[in-house]
């Protein structure tokens, strides 16, 4: 493949995979069962990225393993209704078209682990971009992936393999930092706040949460439903990867490797970190305390689970919203929620269940949004910088209250 017999597209993919293997001293390549690609929104790709993906597709490159896509910058078949301009939509459609030509399934979601057809099994080797999904797959499911970039994930999909280094190896999955939480964690937003406090202090370390299981109900039998536990861990991993660069955390007595291997997963001499309070996180994440008028309430970062959509539908049933609400989720999850009637309930209240995108990768400023509220830690990390919006951060109840009244109320 490296000498170009299979064409320039495959040759470039092999060059990327082989070079990364050399840089990180990988002994060989390991076959992957699934690839998740990031770098899908036109906002991040620019014209150069869109051209490049089309060239790669035209050169005949095709994926050899099941491969799914991160969110795009808009809902693919409803962008006009979202107020997206053709000058954004056309290159966005072109980029997704190039991925589809290469054989990628256009899921356009950051939560491939919530899809019945793709949820990884323990021990599976993956090449996933999207740092929040990487954290979930490694930590909660016990699968194995490094934190890939968009082009390196695509290259792995075309080659069907990834270099065997980092989190693919047992010895690299040991905890550097032991964390004890001494303050109550009541809801998803608290797990986002915890991700800020810890993420800011640990960089890319591997973590061992000593007592986090005290704040977690059991995972549902069907993990693709999310459940209260899945929703908390989804938020935690997303924030740890955004505020820090965490790729794997273990929860004592809870996550699969911790259950099997126990404290042998803690490196000798591991550092200890005690979390006494979430107040420092709320002060920073709830960044604009004088902001009361909210343009857009947005829930679903990472993309909302079935469990979250159900909770929102329950809170909004029979009521009418005073502000815009986007529940951002995967098309696959939205279809399941519609079968249960929850999407219809949210729409009847005036909210939108938006698929394929989110308020970080959509061009929200260009559609007139300047203030947002969310319960998602990763959204609070990225939206103010990427989208130049003001932000309130709090519980799902506060967010829905703001959506119903148009104003953010202190708790």
């Amino acid at each position: 493949m490296l000498n170009g017999d299979a064409g320039p597209g495959v040759q470039r993919a092999m060059e990327i995979v082989a070079t990364l293997g050399r840089i990180y001293g990988a002994p060989d390549l390991v076959p992957v069962t699934h690839v998740q690609i990031a770098g899908v929104s036109y906002k991040n790709l620019g014209d150069a990225g869109v051209e490049f993906l089309n060239e790669w597709a035209d050169e005949g490159a095709r994926v050899r393993v099941p491969t799914t896509l991160n969110p795009a910058g808009m809902e693919m078949d409803r962008w006009q209704a979202m107020g997206i301009s053709p000058s954004f939509a056309e290159p966005q459609l072109s980029a997704v078209g190039a991925f589809v030509k290469m054989g990628v399934t256009p899921t356009m979601s950051c939560t491939p682990y919530l899809f019945p057809d793709y949820v990884p099994q323990r021990g599976d080797h993956l090449a996933w971009a999207e740092s929040s999904a990487v954290a979930f797959a490694n930590s909660v499911l016990g699968a194995r992936t490094n934190r890939e970039g968009g082009p390196s994930a695509l290259a792995a999909a075309i080659v069907g393999r990834t270099p065997r280094y980092g989190y693919h190896l047992d010895g690299e999955r040991l905890a550097d930092v032991v964390i004890e939480v001494r303050c109550p964690l009541r809801e998803v937003a608290d797990f986002g706040a915890l991700s800020y406090v810890v993420g800011k202090q640990v960089g890319s370390a591997c973590l061992w949460f000593e007592n986090l299981a005290d704040y977690l109900p059991p995972l549902p039998d069907d993990v693709t439903e999310g459940g209260d536990a899945g929703d908390r861990l989804k938020t935690l991993g997303a924030g740890l990867a955004a505020y820090g660069a965490v790729t794997l955390y273990h929860v004592a007595g809870y996550t699969p490797e911790a259950n099997d291997l126990g404290e042998t997963l803690i490196k000798p001499g591991a550092r200890r970190l005690v979390v006494d309070s979430l107040d420092p996180a709320y002060t920073i994440m709830d960044a604009d305390p004088d902001l009361h008028q909210i343009d857009l309430v947005t829930v679903g970062c990472p993309h909302a689970s079935l469990n979250e959509i159900r909770q929102i539908a329950d809170m909004l049933a029979g009521q009418h919203l005073a502000t815009q609400l986007w529940v951002t989720t995967a098309r696959i999850t939205r279809d399941r929620a519609r079968e249960a009637g929850w999407v219809q309930t949210i729409e009847a209240a005036g909210g939108q269940v938006v698929a394929d995108t989110c308020a970080v990768v959509a061009p929200v400023r260009s559609i007139g949004i300047t203030s947002m509220a969310t319960n998602a830690g990763k959204m609070a990390c990225y939206a103010p910088a990427h989208s130049k919006v003001k932000m309130r951060y709090g519980s799902l109840e506060q967010c829905m209250d703001a959506a119903l009244t148009g104003e953010w109320q202190a708790e």
Binding site: T19, P151, S152, A385
Partner: protein
């Protein structure tokens, strides 16, 4: 004093290039750190803030930041404002992948402390020749 230094590193992206060195003592994050349209370093408080990487042999310890930075390097190249080559002490995935997809010659495992701003640098495969700026001024 010897005016020419010859070094041998590890090829990340093979190629030939020459240009004046632009040396950063700090890692570079391309997404949000370098303007993809102009090539100017825009990260606040970065030692290269306000300088353009266009056409320079960009010398820095390693990459940092978002993996989307690989695409920022591609955008620099397609906008005609990419570095002529990139030299690292130790390469990592973001910049390495950027160099490959943007076809920018890149070498790492180099003693970059022996390269100064403004030196004329010639890169050919794994070979790097550094001409002291005083001899080529």
């Amino acid at each position: 004093m010897e005016s020419t230094t010859r070094m041998q590193g590890r090829v990340i992206k093979s190629g030939k290039a020459a240009g004046r060195a632009l040396v950063s003592p700090e890692p570079i994050g391309f997404l949000g750190g370098v303007d993809p349209d102009t090539g100017v370093v825009v990260e606040p408080n970065h030692p290269l803030n306000g300088q353009s990487v266009a056409g320079r042999v960009l010398v820095f310890p390693t990459g940092k930041g978002s993996t989307v930075g690989s695409y920022t390097i591609l955008r620099l190249a397609r906008n005609g404002v990419a570095p002529a080559a990139m030299l690292n002490a130790q390469s990592e995935a973001i910049v390495a992948v950027g160099a490959i997809i943007a076809d920018i010659p890149m070498v790492d495992q180099l003693a970059i402390q022996f390269i100064s701003d403004g030196d004329w640098v010639v890169v050919d495969g794994d070979a790097v020749e550094v001409y002291d700026q005083s001899t080529v001024a």
